[in-house]
């Protein structure tokens, strides 16, 4: 188990990352003067970045085999298909 002890990623660093990103997000949302659409893109970008950090490091997806990663990824395109197609309605 010696190997495992050394192989833990630096969780505190990731925690710092996440905390800083959250502060930046709130800052961007309330202090900056971007247009609405730029703002949405920026905020989504930060949210995805944070989500990826959690998935890759906390949920160890980075260290899993490809087939387990596939299981994690399969539903995402499906959910996107649903949202994108229904948005096409252009109601």
């Amino acid at each position: 188990m010696e190997a495992a002890t050394h192989k833990h990623p630096n969780y505190v660093l990731i925690w710092l990352y996440l905390a800083v990103l959250t502060v930046v997000e709130v800052g961007v949302a309330f202090i900056s003067h971007f247009s609405k659409s730029t703002l949405i893109v920026l905020l989504l970008f930060f949210a995805l970045w944070k989500a990826l950090l959690v998935a890759l490091y906390f949920m160890h997806l980075k260290f899993e085999r490809w087939n387990l990663r596939t299981i994690a990824l399969i539903p995402i395109p499906l959910a996107l298909i649903l949202i994108i197609i229904v948005l096409q309605e252009g109601l």
Binding site: A4, A47, A51, R65
Partner: protein, 226 residues
């Protein structure tokens, strides 16, 4: 890392390496999380569709919802995610004391998150923000009448519906996580039943917990900030 650890697990006859190199409970949790993605996908998708296909403006961020409070809550959940992963790292290293400590901190963080959310709900309902929109005669409804653009008066009903459904179900998931962690804490972690060789319960509940955190990261952004 977990890869190396899993190989050393003293598991019963299960031949996990034939599949995806994950033992049953871990694989089962991932499969379950896939279905959770679809569940939250349906809720979030509904929100996106309702919000962006309606012509009327939505209430501006921070006008109705208390963003600083929720930002703090987000921070709390991120902290509990870190403490969870610390607990996992501790048990993987065979450190019982730290496992108990960090697992307890995670439970505490989760419980506090739920507490803050309940407080938030009570406040919002008190102001007149309900699942069906701005309650008639409430303070909020009057504000909305005075400044319909800022308060998204025309879409208040959808705002209330989607907000309470999404955050409510997230809160429900957090509660489930806290309950199962408490159960594991008292029946497994305290008696020292987890070991360097078998910490499947911790890893699985950890996966669930991080997923809930991940969902919140998305929800916080799209519900409170956009």
């Amino acid at each position: 890392m977990s890869h190396a650890a899993a190989d050393n697990l003293m598991l019963p006859s299960r031949s996990f390496e034939r599949g995806v190199d994950a033992y049953d409970i871990k694989l089962g949790m991932w499969v379950f999380l896939a279905s959770e993605v679809m569940f939250f996908g349906a809720l979030i998708g509904t929100y996106i569709i309702l919000r962006f296909s309606v012509d009327q403006p939505w209430a501006q961020p921070g006008v109705i919802l208390n963003v600083p409070l929720t930002a703090f809550n987000t921070f709390l959940l991120i902290c509990s995610s870190v403490s969870m992963v610390k607990a996992f790292a501790a048990v993987a290293d065979g450190d019982q004391k730290n496992l108990k400590f960090w697992l307890f901190m995670t439970m505490l963080g989760g419980a506090m998150f739920v507490g803050v959310q309940v407080f938030e709900y009570i406040k919002l309902l008190g102001h007149g923000f309900t699942p069906s929109g701005y309650r008639e005669g409430s303070q909020l409804a009057e504000h909305a009448l005075a400044d319909p653009l800022k308060y998204g008066a025309a879409t208040g009903g959808l705002y209330g519906s989607t907000f309470f459904t999404m955050t409510g179900f997230h809160g429900f998931h957090v509660t489930c996580g806290v309950v199962s962690m408490t159960y594991l804490f008292f029946t497994k972690a305290l008696p020292g039943k987890y070991s360097q060789q078998d910490y499947r319960g911790i890893e699985a509940v950890g996966l669930y917990w991080h997923f809930v955190d991940l969902v919140w990261i998305i929800l916080f952004t799209i519900v409170y900030l956009v």
